[in-house]
Structures are given as C-alpha cells and as structure tokens.
C-alpha cells in the first residue's frame, strides 16, 4: 500500500540532486498552474508527458495514480461547463454548456494532470527520506524536517498495528456496517492506537536522548551537484521558455515555412 514504486531507477531524474529537482519542479508546476492561455498550458502539459519516459517510469502505473486524482477534476466537469456564462455549445435539459466553461474545465484537467506528471518524474524519483534530507539542505526548520522524517518512519509501523487490531476484531466476527457498533469499534481501535503511539513517542524520544539528541538534526548526505542537475534544469527552463514565447516561436516557424 505504501510502496514508493517510482523511487528506484537509473534515469537522469533518479541521478539528479533532490534539492535541484524540488526547486525546478516547483517552478515548472507554478508556471503551469498560473497559465491561463490554452496554447501555453497545452505545451506545458505535453512536455510533462514526455518526462515520464525520460524518467523511465511505467506509464501504466502513472495512469493508475491519475485515475484516483481525477475524481476531483471529474466533479468539476459536472459543474463548470454549465455554470460559466458564454457561447452555448449544447444543453442537457435546461442546463446549457458553454464553450468558455468547457475550456476552463479542460484547462483544469490539463493542469491537474500535468502537475502530477511533474511530481512523479521529478519528486517521486527520490525516496521520501532523501527528500527529507534535501528539505534540511534547503534550510527548512530542523523541527519540521525531523517531524517529516519521523512521521514517515512510523507510518508503516502504525499501519501494521492497526491491521493487527482489525484482524483481531475480524476473528471475533466483527463486520464493517453502517451502524453505531462499527463506528464505536473503529473509534476504540483508533483511540487505543493513539494511546500506544503516545507511549511510543516517549520511548522514541528516550532512544534519541540516549544517543545524545540535543534538538539538533544532522544528516550525512553529501551534496554535490552533477551534470544531471544541469540537464534537469536545462530541460525545465527550456520547456518554460517555449511555453512563454510560443506565439513568437510559432510566428518565426511560420515565417520560415513561407
């Protein structure tokens, strides 16, 4: 369930430094979400699709992720085409869909999915612990980084704990239904796990204390920039530049053809 299925590989995305990837991915996504021009969004989206093969990630796996994410986008498709004023295109009963509404829903779809493709190729090609260490290097507050790393560390442990309690309930013939007994049982399990987590939190702090923890956070990760970071940055800035100046480029290409 908590597999980081994209984090291991040998593409340039996997080899690049996590700090660089975080920064350029944020720039890329920012450009994408703040673009409202169809051509520009299309260019940014199409390029984001090419990132997946460059990162040597299976398209099928990414597609599975996209389906889940698109539930919110789908939800908006039920409203936006019909609630945006503009040129009518078609109607269902008394609801009139407009060109402007469809365009906006389409833009959102491209942006949401493009952003996911960027996160998958840039960010998910680094394991979560290494991302944490990168946040440390990017001068995020030590407490924040520590919180991030420790939370990641204990998700699996607590997930297992919950599964074991759920199994214990199952063998006592517990069946999930829409009733108070079910809600009560889930509340009890969850409260019990919270209490044990509280006790565990104290033990973990003790373990840290015994190894000299004094509130400071160290990381062993070496940070060296490589040619891969240059490639990654170049790819990103190239894409952003093309999207920004697409009209001029188109104009120039047209001229050449003529």
């Amino acid at each position: 369930m908590l597999e980081e299925s994209f984090s291991s590989g040998k593409s340039i995305f996997h080899k690049a430094d996590a700090r660089v990837k975080i920064i350029v991915a944020c720039l890329y996504i920012l450009t994408l979400v703040l673009s409202y021009d169809l051509d520009r969004v299309l260019i940014l989206f199409i390029f984001s699709c090419f990132l997946i093969p460059i990162a040597r990630i299976s398209f099928l796996k990414v597609l599975k992720r996209l389906i889940v994410v698109n539930s919110f986008v789908l939800f908006l498709w039920f409203f936006l085409p019909f609630s945006t004023p503009g040129t009518p295109v078609f109607h269902i009963y008394k609801f009139v869909a407009t060109l402007q509404g469809i365009e906006q829903a389409f833009l959102i779809t491209l942006k949401a999915n493009g952003a996911i493709l960027i996160i998958v190729s840039f960010i998910n090609t680094t394991s979560i612990p290494l991302l944490g260490y990168a946040l440390d290097k990017l001068k995020f507050p030590p407490k924040f980084v520590l919180l991030f790393l420790l939370t990641y560390r204990y998700i699996g442990v607590i997930f297992e704990e919950f599964n074991r309690l759920m199994n214990a309930a199952k063998i006592r013939n517990f069946i999930l239904k829409t009733n108070f007994h079910t809600y009560k049982t889930i509340s009890y399990m969850f409260a019990m796990i919270l209490i044990r987590s509280y006790e565990r939190g104290k033990r973990v702090y003790n373990a840290m204390l015994l190894r000299g923890f004094n509130g400071r956070f160290y990381s062993l990760q070496h940070t060296r920039l490589s040619k891969y970071d240059v490639y990654i940055s170049f790819i990103t800035f190239f894409i952003i530049a093309i999207s920004m100046f697409n009209q001029y480029i188109l104009f120039f290409v047209m001229k050449l053809i003529q």
């Binding site: 704990e161 214990a168 063998i171 006592r172 517990f174 009890y188």
Partner: protein, 246 residues
C-alpha cells in the same frame, strides 16, 4: 472419528512480498476436542499457519474444509470463525476496548447476542480465567499477565469449539502460566497450541506436531518427557504434577 472440524488440504502459502513459500503442501486435521501441540523453530511459519486456519491469510494453493465443507465465501468464514478462536501471541494486538467487560463482550455481541446475554457470557469468561471483578478495569492499565488472561477470555466468551493459541506463555510469570494450564485443562473444547514451552505442552496437549520445511509432521509425545525440565523457570520452586504427564 467423524468429520474433522477443520481440515487443511495441501496448503501452500507465501507472503506477497516474499519469493519463498512458507507453507508447502501442508495437510492437517483438527478433530473435536483434539489437544494438539505444535513446536518448531522461529520463522518456520507457525503463526502463518494459525492465521491461515482462521482465514486471515489466504493460501495460494490448497483447500480449507470446515466441518467437511470447503471454505469459499465470506459467509463460510464467518461460521468458521464462530467455531475456531485464535489467541494472538501479543495480547496488545488483541485488546482495543477501554474496559475489560467491553472487550470480552465484543465477540458475543458480534455473534448477535443481546446486550444482557453478552454481558453474562463475558462475566462467565472472566470467571474462567480468574479475572472476576475486573469488569470495569481499564484494559490498558492491566499487567502483562492480566492482559494475556483477558485475551484468552475474549475468545472463550465466543464459546469456540477449537481454540488456537500462539505462544500463550511467552514472557509470563510462573503463576500466570500455571493459571493458564489449569484453565485450559478445565475447558471441554479442543486446542491447538503453538509453543516453545515444552513443559507447558506436556501438561496441556496430547498430540505433538513439528513444523519444519513448511509442513507439519507428527512427532512422538515422548520428546516432551525427555525435556521435562526444560521450562524457563526450572530454577524456581515448582511442582511436578506427574499425573498430568502422559
């Protein structure tokens, strides 16, 4: 002999994360009121075997028959779990209610008993394990031994025909261990006990199986005789209840 309560037919099981099978073509029968001990080194799949028995793990190959019927649907599983109770090794994994009574009544309530009957059943089960008067105690504040006894009571309260116990004596004080021996012998139901505690098995079971290479192999009960003094508290004062030994 009649129909066995549970029958496993050439079961093979592996965890999805692992390549190797942990149970390999295992066949096993539990007849009514059987008293079976299972020994074997750690990592041999004794716990996985118990979890397969109650349908918490699904074997890749083989069949499970409950009272002669193949277990297929969720409904079959529910009736199987009515009859076969599993006590986990770690009581912490089994107890999740704030108070003792609520935890013991949880199973009977799931079986469809009325609140009153469930309460009676819970009080009876607590009596069986020697925890009468603990009804309103906070589960989380019990000692390790009391938690163990309570986890036994939660299963006894469902009146199973067979009880599966996973390492029931690990880390217990000698007195609690003694309580468990007496309470198990007082029940008129079957048991399958997985344990490293030889003396405990000698005093509670009548058949012995060894888990090795993913299979259960019947062993001679004499093994336990030879190791009679092998229990963890041999250095403390203890009785030798000779009559209990086969």
């Amino acid at each position: 002999m009649g129909t066995p309560i549970l029958e496993l037919k050439s079961i093979s099981f592996k965890y999805t994360t692992s390549k190797e099978y942990i149970l390999k073509g295992l066949s096993f029968k539990i007849e009514p009121k059987d008293r079976i001990g299972i020994i074997g080194a750690n990592g041999e799949g004794k716990t996985s075997f118990l979890h397969v028995c109650v349908g918490l793990l699904n074997p890749q190959e083989g069949e499970i028959l409950f009272k002669g019927q193949i277990v297929k649907t969720d409904k079959d599983l529910i009736s199987l779990r009515r009859s076969i109770g599993l006590v986990f090794q770690n009581p912490e994994d089994q107890l999740f209610s704030p108070t003792v009574l609520e935890d013991v009544a949880f199973g009977p309530l799931n079986l469809g008993l009325s609140k009153e009957k469930a309460r009676d059943r819970a009080i009876w089960a607590l009596e069986q394990v020697g925890l009468s008067g603990f009804e309103d105690r906070i589960t989380n504040k019990l000692s390790g031994g009391e938690k163990k006894l309570l986890s036994l009571a939660t299963i006894l309260a469902m009146k199973p025909e067979i009880m599966l116990l996973d390492e029931p004596t690990t880390g217990l004080a000698p007195s609690t261990r003694e309580t468990i021996i007496h309470l198990l012998n007082a029940q008129d139901i079957g048991f399958v006990i997985v344990s490293h505690d030889w003396d405990f098995l000698a005093r509670t079971t009548k058949k012995l199986f060894v888990m090795e290479g993913g299979e259960l192999i019947e062993a001679d009960m004499d093994i336990l005789h030879k190791h009679y003094h092998a229990h963890p508290y041999g250095y403390l004062e203890h009785e030798h209840p000779e009559k209990k030994i086969l």
